[in-house]
Structures are given as C-alpha cells and as structure tokens.
Amino acid sequence: MFQNLPLFPEKASTIAYRVDALFYFLTAVAVFFAALIFILIVVFAVKYRRRSATEKGAPIEGNIALEILWTVVPLGITMVMFGWGALVYVDMFDPPSNALEIDVVAKQWMWKMQHREGQSEINELHVPVGRPVQLMMTSEDVIHSFFVPAFRIKMDVLPGRYTTLWFQPTKAGEYHLFCAEFCGTQHSGMLGRVIVMEPAEYQGWLDGGATGMSMEQAGAQLFQRLGCGVCHRPDGAGQGPSLVGIFGRPVKLEGGGAVTADEAYIRRSILEPHAQVVAGYKPVMPTFKGLVSEDGILQIIAYLKSLQKEGPQAQR
C-alpha cells in the first residue's frame, strides 16, 4: 500500500544528497523544539491546573538568564542553518566548467530543449548519468520555473533574461519535470520528463536522434542570413567590432564602465544594441528585435562562443 503513499522523494543527483542531509538536520532541530514546547505546555497545563476558583498563579515576572538563554541558543542554531544552507545554495549556482550545456526555452505551456549537438526536444530532456549538465534558460512569454524534484533543483525561467541551473544525475531513470511558477491556464499541464541514461546509451540516443545541424552551425547560418557579418568582420574592419573571442571578454563601454560579454550581454546587444555601446564605436547597429527568435539568439550565442576556440578564420 505504500506504493500509493510515498513519504520520501527519489534522490537522483549529487546535490540531492546534500539537500537531504540539510533536511535531516532541519527536521531534527524542528522536532526537538516542537517536542520541547508541546511537552512543556502539556506538563504545565496539567500540573498547574486550577484547583480552586480563587486560586492565583505565582507572582513571577521573568528571569533574565532564561531570556538570554533562549535568545542565544536559537540564534546560534539558526546561524548554523544559514551557513549550511548558504554553502549548498552557492554550489547550486556554481556549475563546474566541464558541464554539458543545454539550452532551454520555456513558453506557455511547453519546454523546448536544445542540445548543442543539434537535437531538440519538447518536454523531454535526455542527459547522461554522471556528467554535470548546465541549463541556460529563458522564456518567450511569462515566468516559468524548471523543477526536478528528484534532483532537488529549481530555477525560475524569465522572459528577457537568462538564468542557469546545473545538476549531475547519479542514477539512470525517468524523473518528473514540473513547471513550478504559475504561468497561466495550463500551468499544471506544463510537465515533462528528464530521462537519465547510461553514457553509452546516451551517445546512442544522440547519434540516433541527430537531426540536421548543431546549434553552432545553425547559429552560423543565422549570423549569415541576418547580415551580422557585414559589420562584424573577423578582422574588425567593418563598422562594428570583431566578434572573435568576444565571449567572456570584458568590454569597455562608451561613457565609462565595462561589462563582461556573457549571454545576457550578447542577447541585449542583439535586441537593444544601444543600451550598452562599445567604446569607440558609433551606435549604428540596428535592433534585431522581432527578426530573431529566442531560439535563434541562443544559436547565435552558441556560434559566438565557438569563435573562441577556432580562431579568426572561423568567421566566414
């Protein structure tokens, strides 16, 4: 009968073990204090019950030592909770550098996953066991939230911004993917599956399901089609700066200040080129808003990232 009455969620990622350890600690503290209060209340209420109509309580006003005790002890305990929780949290948002990167676009009410190798899936995500996976997520409409209980991870997916999430599956199997931020009528239907496979199997799936171009190739094609290359020539001779090696590089801005060229920056450069203008260039780049989809932007970003390694000649 306990099939129908699960009390503990499955654990299928490295972080899940750490979250659960935290959970045990929190539960222990909670049970201790709840029991303490319950027992004291019951004992006092029974032991000191009123025995005659005129009886009065003892004239006690308080006790400073006790007050200090029950201020300092909870304070100490909560600081442990804070520290421990913070450690887990910071690690949750600090992906290892060798992570497999997958892009996720959410829209009412579905999930689109794009693997760098070109596969794209709807409401399903295939990943290999034992390898860190990092998701780069954005939304086409409202806020959604990517939630896999078995991995103990969750992150909101925002329109107009990128958020990231990473996990390392530890066990092959199929797990629920929920949308956890209310996003409209079919919020509760915005479900998916994360399918964790053994690495060999995963490779097979990748090969078998390979559909056409990789993201970089698609990005390169878009770059061509939208005419970006007219201004952004690899030698920097165009109207705009060369984009070779742009990703991760600090960029000096017109009017002071600098930013790191990350995904958000590139996305913004494409959609709102004049919000942050590169020092020494004129704000002549047109906006590509409406001309390129969120998927497309992710492909361009993947392409620009690839320019990193390959050197100038990669940009045709």
Binding site: F82, G85, I143, K154, P159, A180
Partner: protein, 543 residues
C-alpha cells in the same frame, strides 16, 4: 436583578442609520466583524472547491481556468479581506481605546471612513469575482498579470488598492491613539501586550501598505494605459515587481500574526492568573518583528533570478526575524509555569496557537534555509507552512480572542462546552488538512496545480478529509455565537477574573467606555492584586 434598563453602546439608539453613520469605535468594530466574517466564508467556500478538486489527480471537477481563479480569489479574499483586517479592525478597534482608558480612537471619523473604504474595495473585488474572476495567484507576478492574463486583473487590483487605504487609516489611528490618549498613569510598560502588538502592526500598516498600493497601481496602469514599467518586451525586469510586492507582503504576514500574538499574550496570562513572563521581552519582540520584518522580503525570491548575494543577505536576515518569535513562544510557555491554569475555550485556542505556530514557524526556518528552499519553494511545503501560521496560528488566535471578549462585546456568555468541542475539532481538522501538505511539498508537488501525478493522491485525500472536519469546526462557532446573542447567559463585567482595564466597565460598555477617566497605577497583568488596587476611577465625569 435591576429591572431598569441600563444604557450601553448597543442600545443608545437603533436603526440602520445609527449603525452606518456611527463613529463609535465599538460599533465600527461590529461593522468590521460582520464584513470580515462574510469574507472568511467566501474565502472558505473557494477553499472547499479547491479541496474537492484535489480529491482526484485528474482535473475533473472544474476546468483548469476555473481552478486558477479559485485559488487566486481564495488567497486574495483570505489575505486582504479577511485576515489582515480581522483582528486589528475588529478586536483592536473595539479594545484599544478601552484598554488605554480613552473614550474613542483619536480620529473616529477616519475610523468610519476606513470601514467604508474597506467595503468599497471589497465590492470591487467581489465585482471582479462576479464578472468572471482573476487567475494570477494572490501574488500578481508580472508579466503574467500585467500582459498575459485576460481575466479581471485591473478590477481586482483596484479593489486591493482601495482597501489598502483602509489599512493605512486604521494603523495611523492606532499609533496616534496609543501615543496621545493613554489614561493618566498608563505608562508604556503598563500597557497590555495586545496594545504593543497592535502598535507594531500599525507601523507595518503605515509604512508597508503604500508600497503595495503603488505597485498594484502600476500594474493596473500598465494594463489599462499601456505604461511599460514591468514589460520585458520593453526591457522591463520581471524581478522588480516581486521586490516591490514582497516589500509589503512579507511584512504583511506579520500584520497577520502580531495581533494574534497579542491576543495569546492576554489569554495565557488571564487563564493562568499570572503575570506574563518576561513582559518587556515580549513587548520588544513585537517591535523587533515589525522592524526586522521589513528586511527579509527577498526570501520569497531565492530562485527568482535575484542575485546570489541578495539571496544570502535575505536568508541571514530571515533567521534574525525568527528570534523574537522564538522569544515569545518561550515566554508564553514559561508563563504557564506555576500558574493556575484553566481550560476555558479561549485558553484551548491559545494553547493550540502556540503548538501550531511553533510548527509553522519552524518550517519557516526550513524555507529560509537557502539550499533547502530551492527544492520546496513553490510546492505544497510552502502552502503548508503558511496555513500552519495563518490558519492554525492567526485564525485560532482570532477565534480565541472573539470568544474571550465576546462577553464584553455582547454582554452574553457563549456556551462553554460546545466552544471547547469546536476548539478541539478545529485543532484536529486543521492538522489533518495541512500536515500531509508538508509531505506533499517535500515530495515535489508544485502548488497552484489543478491536476497532479497519481502518486500524490492519498495525501491529498487526507488533506481534503481534514478540510471537511475543519469546516465543521468553523461553522459551529458561527452558529452558537449567534445563538448566544439572544440566549446566552448574562456575562457581568469581568467573567474571567481578568486584570485588563477593559474589564472594569460594564458589559456591554457605555458609549464613552468609562464614566470617568481612570488613573492607572500598575501593569495590566498584576494578577496578584485586585483590580481596585490597579485602577482608580475619579469622581467626576469628563464629557
């Protein structure tokens, strides 16, 4: 018995006009009592439908669209139209002037105005409901609320905006009254903790509510006039709305709990016939909660795309705000020690409050713990947490207070045995409803789900079963309290042997509360003394 008819606030005059145009704080309290009770049952009706729908995994009772409107209107009604005004506007209104020996609040006309504003706001929201409802969740996150939802967001938002001003006026009135109108000798540290709690609550009313008002106004303007402050398509950041919303709405949860804590402080002392343990600590804990409560709003946004740095800061501060609550719980418990404890219904509610609030509060610590919140945020764990505090805590405290001061308000006693039974039913029904939701949340069931995977069914059925028991527990007092208005035993001035100043006048009190202004020489908890040793009534009336 004295056959002569004594004049009091209920019988000075009759008729609808005498009620709708009254500036007597006691009558305005009744206006509020009737209104918030109405809204509670409206909200409860939505809750009933929610629980019925969740009996089965498939969404079969209502459409997804309808379900979304149900929980939104449940949350909006319960929070803005029931719980926030409940204790302050009913019991606070009724009792604060009496507790401090004043003839009325500082601004009686504003007080009446605040009720009308509340009703106008309520009518807007009811109109939105009647017109088809809203489906954004009570949190109105943009851009769903500002652009995508095609339900009656604007109307609802106007309703909440308007109602906000009623809160502001109530809070303003309380602060001024408590500062300027205390009876001679009633120093700050002789005040009942109920008054301290309302003072702290009022600070939040006054400094928090306007931020919600302007935020919702901007959402409304965005919908109606196409302003573009939250619109991602124009470069707007969706997280900004959440900051502004929670800047009010986190402190607002303390608006809901502080007055209830105030009640519990009164009841625990009275039914233990004993001074409250660590009076000053409990008093300052209220202020501490109100002030630190303004620094923690980001704990609702740990996975929202807020920066990691902000997450750390808000988590740390959230733990700090828990400390004053812990201090209160320990002091209440210690008050029982060597008391003379009786088990009257109000006391049962307060003991229930302490237990349930402790669980609710401790699970709040789970949520404030960054690494754990990521897993359970936006799941039923959160739903369970806040119902533990708001339903098990605040509402139980409210019921305890209503029972306790019922004799003062009406001059009649409620039927004790039935009341104890009801308290027990509420306690049991409550725990059965909401404890399974902690498990559901930990298992990963997201909130605001109209349908759910089948493995969650058993726990959901338990929860729905509990809700039906809870409903009985709530309907029962409604019935016997109304019954007692006519048939209850006559109460007398001070049926509980309490020491508060409000018990030193007739039940029901005369319009101006006291015939003469009292002089106060002791704390409101001096149970070792007789009331005559604490309060001294002069010879002449001050009209």
């Amino acid at each position: 018995m004295n056959a002569q008819r004594r004049e009091h606030y209920l019988n000075v005059n009759y008729g609808v006009r005498s009620w709708l145009l009254t500036t007597d704080h006691k009558r305005i309290a009744w206006l509020y009592l009737v209104s918030v009770t109405f809204f509670f049952f409206v909200g409860g009706f939505f809750a009933t439908l929610i629980r019925l729908e969740l009996l089965t995994p498939q969404g079969d009772l209502v459409q997804a669209e309808t379900y979304n409107k149900l929980f939104t209107m449940h949350g909006v009604t319960m929070v803005f139209f029931f719980l926030i005004p409940s204790i302050p506007a009913v019991l606070g209104n009724f009792l604060i002037p009496m507790m401090i020996g004043a003839r009325d609040l500082a601004f009686p006309k504003l007080n009446l105005a605040s009720w009308y504003i509340f009703i106008i706001g309520g009518l807007f929201t009811l109109a939105a409901t009647a017109a088809g409802g809203v489906d954004t969740g009570w949190t109105f996150y943009t851009p769903y609320s500002s652009i995508y939802s095609n339900t009656h967001v604007a109307l609802t938002v106007v309703g909440i905006f308007v109602t906000g001003f009623s809160s502001i006026l109530t809070g303003l009135n309380f602060i001024v009254t408590i500062h300027k109108m205390r009876a001679p000798g009633l120093t700050w540290f002789r005040l009942p903790l109920f008054v301290w709690a309302h003072y702290a609550t009022s600070i939040i009313f006054v400094l928090g509510t306007p931020v919600l008002a302007i935020t919702l106004a901007l959402v409304g303007l965005e919908r109606i006039f196409g302003l573009g402050i939250f619109d991602p398509a124009r470069g707007g950041d969706p997280v900004l709305f959440q900051h502004l919303f929670w800047f009010y709405s986190h402190p607002a949860v303390y608006i809901m709990i502080l007055p209830s804590m105030g009640i519990v402080s009164e009841l625990i002392a009275c039914f233990s016939r004993k001074r409250i343990f660590g009076y000053a600590f409990v008093a300052f804990a209220s202020l501490g909660i109100a002030i630190i409560g303004f620094l923690v709003w980001g704990h609702h946004m740990f996975v929202s795309g807020q920066s990691v740095h902000a997450g750390l800061v808000f988590s740390l501060l959230s733990f700090l705000v828990a400390i004053p609550s812990a201090i209160k719980v320990f002091n209440w418990t210690a008050t029982l020690y060597k008391g003379s404890v009786s088990y009257d219904a109000p006391m049962l509610y307060s003991l229930g409050f302490i237990g349930v609030f402790t669980i609710g509060g401790l699970t709040g610590l789970f949520l404030a713990t960054l690494g754990f919140d990521v897993h359970v945020t936006d799941t039923y764990f959160v739903v369970a947490h806040f119902h533990y505090i708001m339903v098990g805590g605040a509402v139980m405290g409210y019921l305890g207070g209503i029972h306790f001061w019922w004799p003062k308000m009406t001059g009649r006693l409620y039927p004790e045995i039935l009341a104890r039974l009801a308290a027990l039913i509420v306690f049991l029904g409550f725990n059965l409803t909401f404890f399974p939701q902690f498990v559901l949340g930990f298992l990963g069931m997201p909130r605001r789900y109209h349908a759910y995977p089948p493995e969650f069914q058993v726990l959901n059925v338990m929860s729905s079963a509990g809700a039906s028991i809870l409903a009985v527990g709530y309907v029962l007092p409604l019935v016997y309290l109304i019954w007692s208005l006519r048939y209850g035993a006559v109460a007398g001035r001070n049926p509980w042997g309490a020491r508060g100043l409000e018990w030193e006048t007739d039940s029901p009190p005369p319009t101006h509360n006291f015939d003469t202004t009292p002089r106060v020489t002791e704390s409101a908890y001096a149970y070792e003394k007789e009331p005559e040793e604490i309060y001294h009534f002069g010879a002449t009336a001050h009209v």
